[in-house]
Symmetry: C2
Subunit: 125 residues, 2 copies
DNA sequence: ATATGTGCAAACTGTTTGCACACGA
DNA sequence: TCGTGTGCAAACAGTTTGCACATAT
């Protein structure tokens, strides 16, 4: 762990302590409870940097928002088109890792997303 | 196959005849060679509709552009961070389908993306 | 005639960036 | 002091949308 700025530490703390897949703005609002006058630009800058370093994962599910995940291990995301929730799931196999090896492609991140309707929304409607 | 407008037909034709994963703007420029005065808004509207219907796939690799794919079958995408190319690959297993079944999640689309450096960029640098 | 789709351009919005300033080594 | 990071606000860019008009049934 490097010697990060207190802003970056706060962002990491917020991200570590949630099991959702928050957007930059949600993180911004949470971090403001720790550092009230932090700016949204700083949040974006740090999230980009952390993502580039591989400390966190940037997840784009096509809802117009970038989502961030503290868990950088390969795992699946189940994204509900109805309520927008994103659930994690353990992978039973990792085809992207195997594939990449065969094709001479060096992946440093792999993303698995299933789009559909979650159980909760299914029973509600 | 429904009775689509000639604009939508042209968009589908362009999409069918490429093996890349074009952006809305690239599609727009191609379609203009068929329908010179088509508007970008129409391209976006049709792509959204087609994607919603499941006729095409919308793919977001986090480069700021939405990419579209005529191939709606589950397959892997290898996205090069260097040159931005997106290569297709056959899946050796489909964990998202299996997972979803177990968790009561009904997916209508599954996205597999590996981020890294492609073989071409690796040898060039 | 009526409903659906289009062209155009303005508006929207998540994200990025330039710049002056603050902070830590 | 010097370099890196921040706060602020303006700018950016991909996408969406309102509206008048065209098109097909």
């Amino acid at each position: 762990m490097k010697n990060y700025s207190k802003q970056r530490e706060a962002i990491l703390t917020v991200l570590r302590e949630t099991d959702t897949h928050p957007t930059a703005n949600w993180i911004y609002e949470q971090v403001r409870e720790i550092i009230p006058n932090i700016s949204l630009g700083t949040v974006y800058r740090n999230l980009s940097e952390l993502s580039r370093n591989g400390d966190i994962i940037s997840l784009n599910v096509g809802d117009g928002f970038e989502h961030f995940d503290y868990d950088t291990t390969p795992h699946a995301h189940l994204h509900c088109k109805e309520c927008g929730c994103i659930h994690d799931a353990r992978l039973e196999c990792d085809p992207l890792a195997e594939l990449s090896k065969k094709m001479g492609f060096m992946p440093d991140t792999t993303i698995y997303v299933a789009y559909g309707i979650c159980q909760n929304c299914k029973t509600t409607n």
